[in-house]
């Protein structure tokens, strides 16, 4: 299995939606960006990236378009759809709630 075991379940979707929301990118660029922004903490293997992207596409959250890439070759670029934006807001809110809750628990002082 190529699932990112150390990645909280479901957060990969959030990350991808967020990255694509910033600007339309191709798969390779997304993988670079992921590595860039999260350093080595969030390890997403190349293998699990594409099935995840295809899933988001099939859900209608991101749309794909073939365009010339930065080195002038044809590549598949993904961009966020209206549906995707809504999904992103939802997941982001969820994430904030979850992380807030966990932070609070972690910060509890031992009596």
């Amino acid at each position: 299995m190529s699932r990112p075991t150390d990645l909280v379940q479901g957060t990969l979707d959030l990350l991808l939606l967020k990255i694509v929301a910033l600007e339309p990118l191709n798969g390779w660029a997304i993988s670079q960006r992921l590595r860039q922004v999260s350093g080595d903490i969030l390890q997403v293997s190349d293998g699990s990236l594409y099935p995840a992207l295809h899933k988001l596409e099939q859900e209608g959250w991101i749309a794909a378009e073939w365009k010339a890439s930065e080195n002038n070759r044809r590549a598949k670029f993904y961009s966020l759809t209206r549906l995707g934006r809504r999904q992103l807001e939802k997941e982001a809110a969820n994430w904030t709630r979850l992380s807030d809750a966990i932070t609070q628990v972690v910060r509890l002082e031992e009596a």
């Binding site: 390779w28 190349d46 293998g47 099935p51 099939q58 070759r73 598949k76 759809t81 549906l83």
Partner: protein, 887 residues
């Protein structure tokens, strides 16, 4: 949200399904691009190209698997699998065209039969009338009679006093002569109350309808509305007919308009030609019962319930008015209580027999479908057994049982759909033909069974259900398959010796078929007998001519003279043996009856009557012309006129019922309302008067001069060739009065029409029986062929060891024949029990008829022989050498 979701995803799904190559190519390109960039990056970091390639592959963790994961996200698996199953099924079915065609044909017959019967049920019972808001349209029916006849006076009171209906309309049906200028023709007339079309909520196709506002007392509204069909056929769609004056029974009527195209009156299968206001009944019928409260002649009263009024409330309302009428007019009005019925089948009067008939047909058709499913089920089970190696192999290669079942099921459903489509196509042809068929020449009876969506849906549903039924049979077999054992055992392994589900299916099927064959034999035998049944008349070599003299303006005093002239004129035709008039020949629909009282009875109320006898008026030579035997006494004469004492000739049953015996009847008297004492002067043999299956019925024949009738039938007996005779009759009638429309038919043909209901039933039964027989053949054939092919090797060895022919046959076919015998016996017993029901439809339908029983046995044996012939030949022509070498 959902819609927007589909907006984005539907194109993707469609692309995944139909542009599969393109989608795959994109996936390849996308991953290749990634790999190339990755390799470039690794190379830039200082790795050799080979190292970089391997590292990129490693990073991807298996490109093929990742691709498969991407494909999994497309969510079109079900479709893909289905498409695959269908392709596979087509290949498999195409590989065994014999099996496929037998299966499809079997189902086509069964589903076709069901679709036709359902089409009839749909048209006559299920489909609402062709009027707006048909669901709230109800007809009135009296509880004491099963029909809705009412007097016009009573109708008016119900119309004025009820608070449940939006409005009540009424109408009566009659025949009239319509003269449009050149040649008068006979039309069927609906005499309707002024509000009729408004109550129906109809809009005219052309011109206008008549309304209540046109009614100003008797004969005040000489208007006629044409039915679309009559306008089309007699006025060639001429839009200028509105305002034209035509003559109806010699009275001028103005054409107001044309009814909508799909409106045929309110009785489902009775298509009237024209509509006229009821108030003009005297002009149309020659007399008027508008003021007679005790004469129930308004055929149907009907209307829409007001919104919010339930049928129960309406009935209470009507019963209250009925009670009031009874207290108000005790002499004319009896007890009244009502029931509301859908108008299309005229309540229970027609509804009951029609529904019973259609239900019976439905049952038979259902049995046929069941037999077909059993048949196909056993075929499929046999095939599944033959394919056990294939199934085992697929299981061993990792297919899930679920998937294999789905494949087999897809095959079953494909066959079902093909059979259903073929059957439906056949039934549509048959139904279209039925729709234009006019079974009874004299009546405008049509069976409007043009198939609609309901029929198509029903056929589709039946196909799917039967596909599921016979597709389910091999399920257990597949679930139990153990791939290891099956593949080890090799071909022809494991022959089931005990009674299998397959055997049970075959026995069931043969039983059902035997039931059908038995009942069709009974029906056919009855039909054959009815052809030369003793009906008390001789229909062969006789011509019938129906006339209604008022159509040409004859009435009162002018009538008997004209009738006499008609007889004389016919008599003058060379080759004519006898001519007579009768009000209605026996077995013709709608013979009137009258209550008969003993001579000593003075209070002529219904409860005191001794018989309700059919009543015919005849001219002197009637018995001679009809070939009815006069047992004693004399026939009526031309001297039995208005001035002579009233007399009658009665049949034997009348004599027995009223007087006790024929001897006591001769010369004795009886009484009827209106005629006083009537003397019996002659006695004739019993006949059949209403149906062939009726019990002996009392009938009386009155002299036509004493019981005159405007409508009569000429019976012209002659051995001359039909067409010549018809031409001569036509010429002579012209000479008498060219303006008199008439209807002519040979008696034999007329009788066929009159008895069409029972004939149709008989023919339907016969066809069902034939279908049953065909199913039996394919079923037994399938079973026998299968059992022979399964045991080829065993039979070969037996043969090689010197077995004789009958031993081979015994081994190969014994089982099939045994099952056939068991099934036939069971079916025959059931058939004999069920044919009791037939006795009411089919003439002399008795299952204890030795000829029928013998016929069934012979038929089933013959079917068995026919079906096992090919397998038997195959078994006998075995060459043990080739066979054993092959294995």
């Amino acid at each position: 949200m959902r819609i927007e979701h589909w907006l984005y995803t539907l194109p993707l799904r469609l692309r995944s399904l139909f542009r599969r190559d393109r989608v795959e190519q994109d996936l390849d390109d996308e991953l290749n691009y990634h790999m190339e960039r990755q390799i470039e990056q690794y190379v830039a970091q200082g790795q050799s190209p080979e190292q970089a390639g391997r590292a990129a592959l490693r990073a991807m963790d298996g490109v093929t698997q990742r691709k498969e994961e991407c494909r999994d996200t497309r969510r079109v698996h079900a479709f893909d699998d289905l498409a695959q199953d269908i392709r596979y099924g087509m290949r498999v079915l195409a590989k065994s065209p014999g099996f496929t065609s037998v299966a499809v044909l079997t189902l086509a017959l069964a589903i076709g039969a069901n679709a036709v019967v359902f089409g009839i049920l749909n048209a006559l019972v299920l489909r609402p009338l062709n009027v707006p808001r048909a669901e709230s349209l109800y007809g009135l029916q009296r509880n004491d009679a099963h029909f809705g006849m009412e007097s016009y006076r009573n109708y008016l009171d119900f119309h004025d006093r009820n608070r449940s209906f939006e409005s009540l309309a009424g109408y009566s049906v009659t025949q009239a002569g319509l003269d449009t200028g050149d040649n008068p023709s006979r039309v069927w007339v609906v005499e309707a109350t002024g509000n009729y079309f408004d109550v129906m909520g109809l809009k005219p196709h052309l011109g206008r309808f008549f309304h209540s506002s046109d009614e100003h007392g008797p004969n005040s509204a000489p208007y006629v509305v044409l039915s679309y069909a009559y306008w089309h056929s007699h006025f060639s769609d001429d839009r200028g007919v509105v305002g034209r004056v035509v003559r109806l029974n010699k009275h001028p009527f103005t054409i107001l308009g044309v009814a909508p195209k799909d409106y045929h009156g309110t009785i489902v299968f009775f298509f009237p030609d024209v509509f006229v206001p009821l108030l003009n009944t005297e002009q149309v019928e020659g007399y008027s019962n508008l003021d007679a409260r005790n004469v129930r002649w308004v055929f149907q009263t009907l209307g829409h319930l007001k919104p919010g009024v339930t049928p129960a409330q309406a009935i209470t309302d009507l019963n209250t008015i009925g009670g009031w009428l009874q207290t108000q007019y005790p002499k004319e009005v009896g007890a009244m209580s009502f029931k509301l019925v859908p108008p299309g089948l005229y309540g229970d009067y027609l509804g009951r027999p029609v529904k019973a008939f259609v239900a019976g047909l439905m049952l038979l058709a259902g049995l046929i479908l069941l037999a077909a499913c059993a048949n196909l089920g056993s075929l499929f089970a046999a095939r599944a057994a033959d394919r056990s190696r294939e199934v085992a192999l697929r299981l061993a290669l990792g297919a899930s049982r679920n998937r294999i079942l789905r494949t087999l099921f897809t095959e079953a459903v494909m066959i079902a759909l093909m059979g259903g489509a073929a059957g439906l196509a056949g039934s549509v042809v048959l139904l279209r033909w039925l729709s234009v068929w006019q079974p009874v020449a004299r009546f405008p009876i049509n069976i409007p069974v043009t198939p609609d969506t309901n029929v198509y849906l029903a056929a589709l549903l039946l196909a799917l259900v039967s596909g599921a039924l016979f597709g389910i049979v091999p399920v257990r077999q597949v679930l139990r398959t153990n791939p290891y054992q099956v593949i080890k055992a090799g071909p022809g392994g494991a022959i089931g010796r005990r009674l299998s589900a397959r055997d049970l299916l075959l026995v069931t099927q043969i039983t059902i078929c035997a039931v059908l064959v038995t009942s069709s034999m009974v029906a056919v035998r009855g039909l054959m007998r009815s052809l030369d049944a003793e009906v008390g008349v001789e229909p062969r070599h006789a011509m019938l001519v129906n006339t209604i003299l008022r159509m040409a303006g004859y009435s009162g005093e002018a009538m008997p003279g004209m009738q006499r002239r008609m007889i004389d004129s016919m008599q003058a035709i060379p080759g004519v043996d006898a001519v007579a008039l009768v009000t209605m020949p026996p077995l013709e629909m709608g013979a009137p009856s009258q209550m008969v009282y003993k001579d000593e009875t003075t209070d002529l109320r219904p409860s005191n009557m001794v018989a309700d006898a059919l009543r015919y008026s005849i001219s002197p030579d009637y018995f001679q012309a009809a070939r009815t035997r006069l047992l004693s006494g004399r026939s009526v004469t031309w001297h039995d006129d208005q001035n002579a004492p009233t007399v009658a000739v009665v049949n034997r049953e009348f004599a027995r019922k009223v007087f006790g015996s024929t001897a006591k009847a001769m010369g004795s008297y009886f009484r009827m309302r209106g005629t006083g004492r009537v003397q019996v002067v002659g006695i004739v043999e019993d006949g059949k008067y209403v149906t062939l299956t009726e019990d002996a019925t009392a009938a009386m024949f009155l002299p036509i001069l004493q019981a005159p009738s405007n409508e009569t039938w000429l019976v012209i007996r002659s051995n001359r060739e039909e067409r010549q005779l018809a031409t001569a009759i036509q010429a002579n009638l012209r000479k008498l009065d060219a303006g008199l429309p008439y209807y002519m038919q040979t008696w034999t043909k007329e009788l066929e029409g009159a008895l069409f209901a029972s004939r149709v039933a008989t023919v339907a039964l016969g066809i069902m029986g034939m279908l049953g027989a065909m199913l039996a053949i394919t079923g037994i054939f399938g079973m026998a062929a299968y059992s022979v092919s399964k045991r080829l090797r065993e039979l070969g060895i037996r043969m090689a060891l010197g077995a004789r022919r009958q031993e081979i046959l015994q081994a190969g076919l014994g089982r099939a024949l045994k099952l056939l015998a068991v099934g036939s016996a069971a079916g025959m017993i059931l058939g004999v029990l069920s044919t009791r029901v037939l006795a009411s439809i089919v003439y002399e339908a008795t299952p204890r008829d030795p000829l029928v029983l013998a016929g069934v046995i012979v038929a089933m044996l013959f079917l068995g022989l026919l079906a096992t012939w090919i397998p038997a030949q195959r078994a006998l022509s075995l060459d043990p050498l080739t066979l054993l070498r092959e294995e």
